[in-house]
Structures are given as C-alpha cells and as structure tokens.
C-alpha cells in the first residue's frame, strides 16, 4: 500500500477567493454569510447564504468558457488553478495516464437548470442555448479539469448529497493508495444559491433565517453556502522524489450507510464511519486531536454527531476539539467537505483550530469542546473530517501531519 499526501490546495468560497484568504477568515472567525443576491430572492422566505459576492466570471474566463462553464464549474476551475499552481506538476506521457479527477457535487449545474427552466416555463421561450446539457451535467467540472490539465486516467463525479466531496476524496485516496494512480485531483464544488436551489431547501423547513449556529443551544437550522475546494493527492514517494512541499498526509478513510432514514441521521452510522476511518489509518482514539464536524446547525445533526463522537471516543471525547466551519462559510452541500478539509490542513500545518462561530450557549446534548467563536492555537498531529449526508451516507477522512 502506498502512502498518499496532499501537495496542492485551492478554493473559492464566501470567506475568500484563495486558500490564504479563507484561512485568514477561519483565524479571524469571520462570517461569510450575508443577504442573498439573485433574481426572485424576494419570493423566498430564506434570504441568507454563504454567497460568493462581487463575482465577475469575465475576470477569469473568456466568452467560450462562460458558455460552457456553469457557476459550479467556474468555481472548480478557479480552485483547481490554485491547487495546480501550488503542486507544480505538469501532466504528460505516463504521468498523465496515471492521473485523474474525482470530484463531488450534489446539484451540478443548478444555476444553468434554473435559468433555462425559467426561460422555457416562465418566459415561454421555445429555444434554449445549445450547451445547456454539457453545462449542467454533474461531471462537467471534472471533465473540464481533466481537459485543462491533461489528466487522462480515471475521472468521474460522485454525488452523495452533503458527503459528496468526502466520498470523492476518499475515492481519490484509495486510487492513489492502491497504486492505480500516481496523482488524483479531487475535492468538490457546489453552487445551489439560485431561486430554485434555495426554494427546494426551504420546503424541508430545516433552514435558518438568521444564522448557522452549530452545537449552540437555540440553533435553528442550516445555512447554504457555495464554492469549491480542490486538492492534489499524490503518491508519497512521487512527491518526495520531486521535492514537492507536502501539506498533509491522507491517512485513512471510511464510509458507511445508515440504511435507516432518508433524512434523519443515525448515531450508529456516523460512529461506524468515524471508527472505521481511524481503523483504516491505524489510529487509536487518543491520537485524534481535532475533528472538523459535519455540524450543520440543525437540531438533529448536531446532537447525533456529538453522541456518535462520545460513543467512539469515550472519555477522550472530553479532550477533543470539534468545530464546524459551516458557521462561517455555510453548508456547501456537495462541496462542503472539500472546503472544510482546508481547516483540517490548517490545524495540522499552522497549529490553528478554526472556531465554531455564532455560538451562544452550550447545549447539554452537544457537550464537547466546539472551539466556540474564537480560533485557538493547538499542536495537532491527527485530525478527522466528518460528512454525513441525507440518505444516511457517511464519509470520514483521517489526516496526519506531513511526514
């Protein structure tokens, strides 16, 4: 079995247009959630989100690219560019054939769908742009990354709702670990902040109208975000031989299914994924210092997640830190695990734990150190990143300090 390391990272989200800006947001405990701005927002009852503001696609993309890139693909390409620049790899010959792209997204080109449904249903038009299908498809982003960087190995998209990017990164990890590939570009992207995207979520009545306050007593739901997080996973010896800067090691991964309910989370399913990731990484519970929580800010998720952590870690749960950065960037649905992995890497590299902001009052059902409101310095060697999706699909990654 090969060792897998991360040699590039990139992002765009409501906290920033780069990893540096995002980490600064984490350190400052900044809130990227604000009033949504898009057509028909006045017809929504939920009007806040972690939206990427003052965004002009024409700054980075030409007309032909914009015709083919939905907003979620644009976010992917921007994050991928940052990650690829950092890793310093170029792909040709055998390396190109042994490298691929696995990305997560839940909604794919939802803005494209929304705009074109509006056009044919509401405006009564009978013609749509010829690129609607290649623009909205869930694999568009992965395909454009493969095309831009000449990645000719296995590429595909994973869709498991809120766990999509953790499942994608787990898949990429396994492909490098087993020797199938030398390099995998992975992570996820989401852009559901359009009228139809938010309207659908509104129906479920789990969204907050004012703020995302994970683990805090009186929390009243999730807040959506948008953006992308992209990473370069590379075989350790390959990275070492070329003298690449290693950001962290991906040590383990596990996925489980609750097999119980389409929306309600299960403690057992979450606990099996957490303990499975530790087993896969050959870690003991007391090795884990920090968990980046799924922490959606719903009543159901947060208490279930805390109960799962308590079950898995026993008394060590009292010595753990577990924060939810969704309080700052919102819930990026299929892209969320990818942006949250940045906080995990920050903990390992910089020794700074991102806080859970908006925290008001302890909830006895969430009795864990959630690093409330203010970032904290801590020496951290091993971290976990949780993602628990609707449909009961759970995916947990374990990361270790760079070797």
């Amino acid at each position: 079995m090969k060792r897998v390391v991360i040699t590039g990272q990139g992002t765009i989200n409501s906290l920033g247009r780069s990893v540096a800006e995002t980490l600064e947001g984490f350190r400052e405990g900044r809130c990227g959630i604000s009033n949504l701005e898009f057509q028909d927002v006045d017809r929504l009852s939920i009007k806040i989100g972690g939206q990427v503001k003052n965004y002009d696609p024409e700054r980075d993309f030409n007309r032909q690219q914009i015709a083919l890139y939905d907003r979620y693909t644009q976010f992917t390409m921007l994050a991928a560019r940052e990650a690829m620049d950092q890793c310093g790899l170029t792909f040709s010959g055998e390396l190109a054939e042994r490298s691929g792209v696995v990305l997560g997204t839940a909604g794919g080109g939802m803005t494209t769908q929304d705009e074109n449904y509006r056009s044919v249903y509401e405006d009564g038009k009978n013609r749509v742009h010829p690129f609607v299908v290649p623009k909205l498809m869930n694999n568009a982003a992965a395909s454009h990354v493969s095309m831009k960087y000449n990645l000719k190995g296995p590429s595909f998209t994973v869709a498991t709702a809120c766990a999509s990017s953790n499942h994608a990164m787990g898949q990429a990890f396994q492909m490098v670990r087993t020797g199938m590939c030398d390099v995998m570009v992975t992570g996820g992207s989401e852009s559901m902040l359009c009228f139809g995207g938010v309207k659908a979520w509104e129906g479920l009545r789990v969204m907050s109208r004012d703020a995302c306050r994970p683990f805090s007593l009186g929390r009243n739901g999730m807040v959506q975000g948008e953006g992308a997080g992209i990473f370069v996973f590379e075989e350790y010896e390959h990275a070492k031989a070329r003298g690449a800067e290693i950001l962290a090691e991906v040590a383990g991964f596990a996925m489980t299914s609750d097999a119980s309910d389409i929306v309600m989370p299960s403690k057992q399913g979450a606990a099996r994924a957490i303990s499975g990731a530790m087993r896969d990484a050959r870690l003991n519970p007391e090795d884990v210092c920090y968990i980046n929580a799924h922490g959606t800010g719903t009543a159901a998720n947060d208490k279930t997640e805390c109960a799962a952590v308590a079950d898995v870690f026993g008394t060590h749960a009292d010595h753990l830190m577990m924060s939810s950065t969704k309080s700052m960037h919102g819930h990026l649905i299929g892209g969320t695990g990818a942006v949250e992995l940045l906080a995990c890497i920050m903990a390992l590299r910089d020794g700074v734990i991102a806080p859970t902001i908006g925290y008001e009052e302890p909830d006895p059902e969430c009795a864990i150190d959630v690093v409330p409101n203010v970032a904290r310095d801590a020496k951290v060697n091993v971290v976990l990143s949780n993602a628990f999706a609707f449909g009961g699909l759970n995916a947990v990654l374990a990361l270790r300090k760079a070797p």
Partner: protein
C-alpha cells in the same frame, strides 16, 4: 368555519397517517397517529396548499413556533388563527 377547518385538517392528517378519518379525533396527537418529522413537514405543506396560507414552522425549533403541533385540536386552532390573519 372552525368545524370546516377541523374536518380538513383531520382529512389531511388521516391521509398522512394512512388511517381512516374516523380514527383521527381532535384529541389525537401526531405521535399516536405515527406521524414522524418528515410526515409532519408534509402535513404542513398540505395544510398550506389546502388553505392557501403560510405556516411559520421550522423543524429545528418546533416549540419556538406559534404553530402548536401537539394535537389535532391545537393544529386546527393554529390554522384557524392563520386563516383569519392571512385572509
């Protein structure tokens, strides 16, 4: 008016619980009728559609809402108040 509202609420809840209308009374609770959180959200949607109203209900904080879901009678009362207010 209130009797009509109760009849309609009972019809909606009975359908959600897969029971006959006769099995649902004003004192029935949703729990007794076997309606879970997803069934509740679906019932509220049906109520909104039937009465053309907006029901302020957040599944994360059911107790914070004025919309009291503790029994069929309380739901009827809340619906009647909203109908009055929003008509």
């Amino acid at each position: 008016m209130s009797a009509n509202i109760e009849a309609k609420v009972i019809e909606i809840i009975a359908e959600q619980a897969v029971l006959s209308i006769a099995d649902v009374t004003s004192t029935s609770t949703l729990e007794e009728l076997g309606i879970d959180s997803l069934g509740l959200v679906e019932s509220i949607f049906a109520i909104e559609e039937a009465f053309d109203i907006q029901v302020p209900y957040n599944a994360n904080e059911p107790s914070e809402s004025d919309f009291d879901i503790s029994s069929v009678a309380s739901i009827t009362k809340a619906v009647a108040a909203i109908v009055q207010e929003q008509s």
